[in-house]
């Protein structure tokens, strides 16, 4: 099957299970584009993720970056539509009936039940990104220090991105 069709099918399926957006499903994207199809290396996927975070706009545009690497401009557009269209259609349909279930008790159960899964997926994403960026102890320390500073201080993460880029530019990472 050609890469465009593969992209379209796998990202459409992903769109419908992407609870919490694209970040929690990065491990699955990694499985598709790195492990199964060898379109990118782990390090390249981490690069693209970093670019999507440093650029303006929704982080889900990561899929346009991936699509572009796989199949140029058509790849970028196909990947973006495949990720957006199904979940947007679902939002459109669900929003009309949702108000009826505002106070339904199962809503709370769904919320409580999904939380550890979504957060477990995000941690998996962080782990795979850190592995993709790992080049030695400086990279690991940078990941750890960024995590600690974001957790325990109010520093804007964009400054930490800049610091990471500077350390990279200096050849330390």
């Amino acid at each position: 099957m050609n890469p465009l069709a593969t992209l379209a099918i796998s990202f459409t399926a992903l769109s419908l299970v992407a609870v919490g957006g694209v970040t929690p499903v990065l491990p699955e994207i990694h499985r598709i584009v790195v492990v199964r199809h060898h379109w990118l290396t782990s390090a390249q996927l981490t690069d693209l993720f970093a670019i999507s975070h440093a650029a303006p706009g929704p982080n889900m545009l990561l899929v346009a970056l991936i699509g572009f690497q796989v199949a140029g401009l058509p790849g970028a557009l196909v990947a973006t539509v495949a990720v957006c269209a199904p979940s947007c259609t679902l939002s459109y349909l669900v929003a009309r009936v949702w108000q009826r279930f505002r106070d339904a008790p199962w809503r709370r159960a769904v919320e409580v039940g999904l939380a550890p899964i979504t957060i477990g997926l995000m941690l998996s994403t962080g782990y795979l990104l850190a592995r993709g960026a790992y080049t030695g102890w400086v990279a690991a320390a940078l990941t750890g220090a960024t995590a600690a500073l974001v957790l325990w201080t109010r520093v804007n993460p964009l400054w930490l991105f800049a610091l990471g880029a500077l350390l990279g530019m200096a050849g330390l990472v």
Binding site: V17, A55, P56, L61, F68, Y92, V94, A147, G168
Partner: protein, 177 residues
């Protein structure tokens, strides 16, 4: 409350997309509730809580719901296209630059440093979202099992999600107060 036209919505979301550094959602809220006053704070919060239940990026879900509330399908399309048009162009330019220069040693090194920092941000964000929930053994159990299956064993997401999430939701249902 005013009802915007389809064109007004496109441009309002377009301008919001252009400002969306570090996630577009706070800017979308500001535009809708504070600047244009198309929604009340309560209406926005309701829409936001629905959007968190749906798959896909929550900012896109909010945008679709707001757009369709005012003008059905054309409204939803105008709002979504407005929001992502400019960031998509920026990202395509970056993609082309990366394809051309991404493996150049200097650029490669900068991206590696950036990537290591972004990984730290994602880990910290997950831990912050977990917060006090980390004191619940049930929460930590499901979190650990998910991490093990996805990050370490590299199982495919869809079966893991369907299996673990349904068990987790059922447990939450039977243990609800």
């Amino acid at each position: 409350m005013t009802v915007p036209t389809v064109g007004e919505m496109f441009w309002a979301f377009f301008r919001t997309g252009a400002r969306g550094f570090g996630g577009a959602l706070p800017w979308v809220r500001r535009m809708l509730v504070e600047e244009r006053v198309w929604l009340t704070a309560q209406e926005f919060t309701d829409i936001f809580s629905v959007s968190n239940f749906l798959p896909g990026p929550n900012v896109l879900n909010v945008t679709v719901i707001v757009g369709s509330r005012f003008h059905g399908v054309p409204g939803a399309l105008a709002a979504v296209l407005g929001l992502i048009a400019l960031p998509l162009v920026v990202v395509l330019v970056l993609a082309a630059l990366y394809a051309r220069f991404g493996q150049v040693p200097g650029i490669d090194a900068i991206l590696h440093g950036l990537g290591a920092a972004v990984a730290g941000l994602v880990i910290a964000t997950a831990l912050k979202m977990a917060g006090s929930l980390l004191r619940s053994p049930r929460f930590v159990g499901f979190l650990a099992v998910t991490f093990g299956a996805i990050a370490l064993l590299r199982w495919p997401l869809i079966p893991v999600l369907l299996g673990f999430a349904s068990v987790s939701v059922l447990v939450a249902w039977f243990r609800r107060a």
